[in-house]
Structure formats: C-alpha cells, structure tokens
C-alpha cells in the first residue's frame, strides 16, 4: 500500500512547521470564540433542567472533554500507525504531541464527572461503573504511553515502540463508547448520538454542540503548538530551522 502523493508534503518538517504556524492563530481564535459563545449559551441562555436544575450545566464541560479525550486517542493511534507503517517521523511527532493533551482532557472528563456525580447520583466515584472504569483505563493508557516513551533514550526507537502500544490501546475507545449500552449501569445512556434523535431540547443542545466544536478546535490549537515544539525538538540541528529562527526577531 502506498500513501497518496499529496500526503508526502506532510512528511516535510519545514512545510508542516510553517503550516502549523499559519493555522494556529486562526484555530485558536475560533476555539476562543466558540467556547465563549458556548459558555454564554450554556450558563445563561440554556434553561435549567426540569430535574437536575442548574447542576446539569456541567454537561457543557464534561461531555466535550470526554468526547475530545476519545477522539484524541483515535487520532494518536492513527498517527502512530501511519508513522509505524510508512516510517513517517512527523506522524510520530503528532502522536507524541497528542498524549499529554489527551491525558489532560481525560482527567478533566473524570473530574467533572465526579463533581457532577455527587449532586445527581449521590456519589463522586463509583468503582463498579464500567463507563468510569474504562475512561480511567484511557487515562492510564495515555500515561503508560508517555512513560514508555520516556524510558527510551533513542527517539527513533521510542517512536516505533510506543506506536505499537498506542495502536493496541485503541481497542478501549469503542468499549468506552458502548459501555453505557452494554451495561445497564449508573451512568446514563447516550443523549445525542442515538438512532431516534437526541433526547435533549434544542435550547440545551445548541450550546452543547457549540462547546463540543469549541473543545475540538481548542484541542487542534494545542496540538498545533505542541507539534511545532516537537518539531523544533527533533530538528534543532537542521539548517532550515536555524535559518528560520535566526531570521525571526527575538
């Protein structure tokens, strides 16, 4: 199997570095706007829930961060697989850059879930709830991925070995997603992604979707800046980077 030709441009570090620099302010700007709009919509415009009152509003952080935590892992695994199969160093750089971001969003999802759980369920943490357990496993996968990388001195080897772990761990993502359907547990079922349409009224749903988009852009923004840093770390000895840095003011 061969990669399409246009893809090979993404193998060139100067090109990707420049592209990331070009995109990053736009992506960051959109993220800020969307999150601001979503926050206003979620905290002010959306009505209180008939049952949970105002405490349901944590959904506007909890759901987007949980969504991003899983999406980030899938991207990590795909990037790692591309890097492994086609020996594309920049794909590895993407995977490396994602890991800490994904871990942070996973932690955020777990923490907001715990805060939400106390007033609604009556408990911060339920050891036997599959959704919580597999999300925790996701956090451990991110941390294990980072720990495994840190153990290698040779970056090339770290790339290729950690890529395998990344791909193995992707099994967990569908399990997280379907856990609330497979097990009838404490965690409620899906609200948005269901066959018979969302079970949330539009004035509550709209800010949520805006927040999900905002978190996605925020993730992309963080990824772009981390990717730039990772490229600098990897290419610090190359001529193009020195010239670029020498040319820039400061």
């Amino acid at each position: 199997m061969k990669l399409p030709r246009w893809f090979h441009r993404f193998g060139s570090a100067p090109y990707v570095y420049g592209l990331a620099g070009l995109l990053s302010p736009w992506v960051g700007g959109i993220a800020v706007l969307l999150i601001a709009a979503g926050t206003y919509g979620g905290l002010v415009l959306a009505p209180a829930d008939y049952l949970q009152g105002d405490s349901f509003r944590i959904i506007y952080i909890h759901v987007p961060s949980a969504y991003v935590s899983m999406m980030a892992y899938v991207i990590l695994a795909v990037a790692a697989a591309i890097g492994f199969i086609w020996r594309l160093k920049l794909a590895h750089a993407v995977a490396v850059s994602i890991a800490p971001i994904g871990a942070s969003f996973t932690f955020l999802a777990l923490a907001t879930g715990a805060i939400w759980g106390k007033p609604t369920w009556g408990t911060f943490w339920q050891w036997t709830d599959p959704r919580i357990m597999f999300e925790l496993l996701l956090l451990f996968l991110y941390l294990g991925y980072m720990a495994l990388r840190a153990a290698f001195e040779d970056r090339d080897k770290a790339d290729r070995v950690s890529a395998i772990l990344g791909v193995v761990g992707v099994v967990n993502v569908p399990i997280i997603h379907y856990s609330v359907i497979w097990w009838n547990s404490l965690h409620q079922g899906p609200t948005i992604a269901r066959l018979d349409g969302p079970t949330i009224t539009l004035d509550m749903l709209a800010p949520l979707l805006i927040m999900i988009a905002g978190f996605t852009f925020c993730f992309a923004w963080l990824l772009l800046s981390r990717l730039q840093g990772e490229i600098v770390r990897r290419e610090y000895a190359t001529r193009w980077l020195r010239e670029l840095l020498a040319g820039s003011p400061g």
């Binding site: 492994f84 357990m133 496993l137 451990f140 996968l141 941390l143 294990g144 720990a147 495994l148 153990a151 290698f152 080897k157 290729r160 070995v161 395998i164 772990l165 791909v167 193995v168 761990g169």
Partner: protein, 221 residues
Amino acid sequence: MHVFLTITGRDLKLAFRRWSEFANPLLFFVVVTSLFPLALSPEQALLQSVGAGVLWVAALLSSLLALEGLFRGDVEDGSMEQILLSPAPFGIVVIAKIAAHWLVSGIPLIVLVPVVAMSFQLPTAALATLAAALLLAMPTLSVLSAIGAALTVSLRSGGSIIGLLVLPLCAPMLIFGTRATDMAANGEAVAAPLYLLAALAVFAVSLGPLAVAAALRVGLE
C-alpha cells in the same frame, strides 16, 4: 506446527533447567497471599469477602515477576535474532513462546490457587469456578505480559515500566474474574463473566501476537 512444537519444547526445556525462574513467582504468590490474613485479621467473614480479590491481584502481581525474562534471555544471547532471520514464520514463533510461558507460569498457578483459596475459606463451590476463570484468564494474561515484555525488550531495566503498561490492561480481566468467583461463592449463575473472559482470551490470542511480533522486530533493530 513443527516450528511451534520446536520452540515450545525448547522454551519448556530451558524453563525446567532453570526451575527457580518459574518457581519464584509461585512462591511469591503464596507468600503475598499469606500476608493478607496476617495483616488484616483472620476473621472468617472478612477473609471470605476479600479472598477472591486478593487471589486475583496476587496472581497478577506474581506473573509480573516472570515477565521480564520472557524474551530478554533470547534477545541477549542472540538467539532471537537468529530466529528472526530464519525462514520460520515469526508470528508462529511468537505464539509458541507465549504458549510456553503460559504452560510454565499459568498452569502451576491454576493448580495452586484453589489450594490457597481454601486457606481463605472460600466455599468449595467457588473453587471450580475460580479455577475455570483463571484457566480462561491466563491466556489473556500471557498475551498482555508478552506485549509488555516485547515493548520493553530493548530497555536495560524494563521492570518498573512493564507493570505500568500491563496492569491497567489487565483490569477488565480482573473485574470479570473476581466477579465470577464472587458470584460462584454466593451460589449464583456464573456463565456471563466466564463467557466474557473467554471472549477476551480469544481476542487477545488472535490479535496480541501481531503486536508482540511487531514490538520484537523493533526491539531487535
């Protein structure tokens, strides 16, 4: 098939020559499990309620001990490289090595666990289920251990990090295993968690060796 038998036979022979390597984890298992009644309290009700969990966690931890040596010896003396260069299909070699590991570390544990379980006063009704659950869980554990060992094979000391990688992945197995044991101790139907353990085992055995083979190839580069 010939390759499979040769490699398994060779690994078994090696294991029996250096019997301390596979005896140590078993001894560790016995020692750890006997510490719990000493530390907690020998109260029968308490031991019964924590018994299943303690046995499973101790079994997991003890299997970590044997794990580092799974590929290390072969890589260090160069025989793994020879195998990789030989025309023998590498995937089968990997499966053979995992099978040997399972025979040496898994089977004795399955024999040992019910005996220790009796010292925790688990009801005899649960012992058969406990053994069956372990039997179903051990292939998964062997595959996961092999993945951890293969990922860290080129590290000088992989010991601490292997646990970090392997133990979280073992969590689902642990949940279903203890659940089955617990349900059996209470006289309930245990088929569901056992089916899930079997599903995990088949899944791990069919996909895991690919990851192990890939990791070993990278490790030997």
